[in-house]
Amino acid sequence: MRRTCLALLAASLLAGCANVGVKPWERDVLARDDMQLDSNALDAAIDDHIYFSKEGTSGGRGFGGGGCGCN
């Protein structure tokens, strides 16, 4: 049930995305470094590694980073 809900949510979001967005010349703010989703890549990798070794869940954001013997 949960899985179906998640799939439906994803599909409806993609379908509704057609009209949302900005024109090319309106990307001034979005082009800033601090608005990039990977702006803090090193910090994020460090945090992910700490939480991977101290908690029961890991990942979700993306890949890159290896395993380690700490979990």
Binding site: V20, K23, T57
Partner: protein, 443 residues
């Protein structure tokens, strides 16, 4: 794998269209290529020195990490990561606190270590250095497509990881929507100090030779990711991920134990070592299933408020070990003038215990199929509070400092407690300090 927010089609066409327009204006055919050599090259390097320290005499970690990217033009990028970290300090071995002092045999089998009465047992025999290397490449594939691939490797005394990943992204709606897919495969090799323990075997005495026995086991992980990046407006962008992860092989922690206790009182069952020193209680090595399937959804929103950027992320994860977790995290980048910024950070994490988590095992009862007393698989709450300060020098290089406080509290599910443990269970909760200095420069 990183997904870039790529600008509109128009941008990529401007270069060619502009050159063509200029040529027709100037009445020339083919322009000579400009060639301006410049001392500044194109590597963008982010480096960090990190200190992680838990309360009491628990784990301390010092690490140096670098993340370097190089742009080869035309959206082709290379990323390299190198991390070295050195771990010392004690970590819980899974045994429960007891009314009396406890002695354990160390993982190598050559020594013993002890825990005073009433304290959660910690194993302090570990010092390890780990090196990790990652490389990734991404480039445009056809119009609107970007393809990426990467390799990863890490090595420590008893553990080695080898991994590879591939990814594909496609843009829609004038690049306002980006769909991304990625696949990663990893193969890990574990060579536990002291050899591979038979599941639920009892911890014994110190042995003379004490070495590996040479055993190594493997673990394979397959990860799949489906993501959407959507521009919501001039000031905000949203990322949604769905990920699936399938691990199989040796997933047990080879050093963790469960205490065997009296089924009525909940007290540790004593053990008398043989001729040599050894464990003074009954302890069994843990055993986890050999497969784990996980699914997670993650959402992140970045919102600009006149120069300040608020980042909010939420992740829900569920798996067939019944470890379900919610993570809520937020950062606010607050510019100070034109060259500095302050970035407070909060994070809340909560998880439910694995189905096979036990606080201890009851003596005389049949052994469960799987059991672990690792607090990281119990009901758990964790809080992080931190702040980061950064400053950009006129040269464009940025240095930063980050201080964070982490607090973890775990709870055993009530049904796993026996006798006097009820109301007196002690979990290895801890606080940790994270201090990081970063420097970002161009090479």
């Amino acid at each position: 794998m990183r997904v870039q927010l790529i600008m509109a089609d128009k941008d990529l066409k401007i270069g060619a269209a502009l050159t063509a327009a200029t040529c027709s204006l100037l009445g020339i055919a083919a322009p000579t290529t400009a060639f301006a050599a410049d001392p500044d090259a194109k590597w963008d390097v982010d480096s960090a020195l990190l200190y992680y320290g838990e309360s009491d005499s628990r784990v301390k970690d010092l690490s140096l990490g670098t993340h370097a990217t190089r742009d080869f033009g035309d959206e082709r990028k290379l990323g390299l990561d190198l991390t070295v970290d050195s771990l010392t300090g004690a970590s819980p071995n899974g045994a429960a606190a007891s009314g009396g002092a406890q002695t354990f045999t160390s993982p190598s089998g050559r020594d013993v270590y002890s825990t005073p009465a009433g304290k959660v047992p910690l194993d302090d025999t570990f010092h390890d250095t780990r090196v990790a290397l990652n490389a990734g490449w991404s480039q445009p594939f056809a119009r609107l497509y970007t393809v990426s691939a990467g390799l990863g490797f890490s090595n420590e005394y008893d553990y080695q990881h080898l991994g590879a990943n591939v990814g594909l992204t496609r843009d829609f709606n004038e690049r306002n929507t980006t769909l991304s897919t990625a696949l990663a495969y990893g193969q890990d090799t574990v060579k536990p100090v002291g050899g591979i323990r038979t599941p639920f075997s009892l911890m014994g005495d110190v042995t003379g030779d004490g070495d590996d026995g040479g055993g190594s086991v493997h673990k394979n992980v397959l990860d799949a990711l489906l993501g959407i990046t959507q521009v919501l407006g001039r000031h905000s962008v949203l990322r949604l991920n769905y990920s699936y992860s399938d691990s199989s092989g040796y997933l047990t922690d080879p050093y963790k134990l469960l205490s065997v206790v009296d089924p009525v009182t909940g007290e540790l069952v004593a053990r008398t070592p043989g001729g040599a020193p050894g464990a003074t209680g009954l302890y069994r090595y843990e055993n986890r299933p050999d497969s784990r399937r996980k699914q997670a959804v993650y959402a992140e929103l970045r919102q600009d408020f006149s120069g300040k950027v608020l980042q909010i992320g939420y992740r829900y994860s569920t798996d067939d070990w019944e470890v379900d977790s919610h993570t809520l995290e937020s950062r606010l980048r607050w510019p100070l003038g034109e060259t500095s910024y302050l970035e407070p950070h909060v994070r809340y994490y909560t998880q439910t215990a694995a189905s096979f988590y036990r606080y201890s095992l009851a003596s005389g009862e049949p052994l469960p199929e799987f059991a672990s007393a690792d607090a990281r698989l119990a009901d758990l709450d964790a809080y992080t509070l931190g702040i980061k300060f950064g400053h950009v020098a006129p040269s464009g290089n940025e240095w930063s400092a980050r201080l964070e406080f982490y607090q973890q509290k775990s709870k055993p599910p009530a049904e796993t407690l026996i006798g006097t443990q009820i109301g007196h269970a002690q979990m290895p909760d801890f606080n940790a300090v994270i201090l990081q200095f970063g420097y970002r420069f161009k090479l």
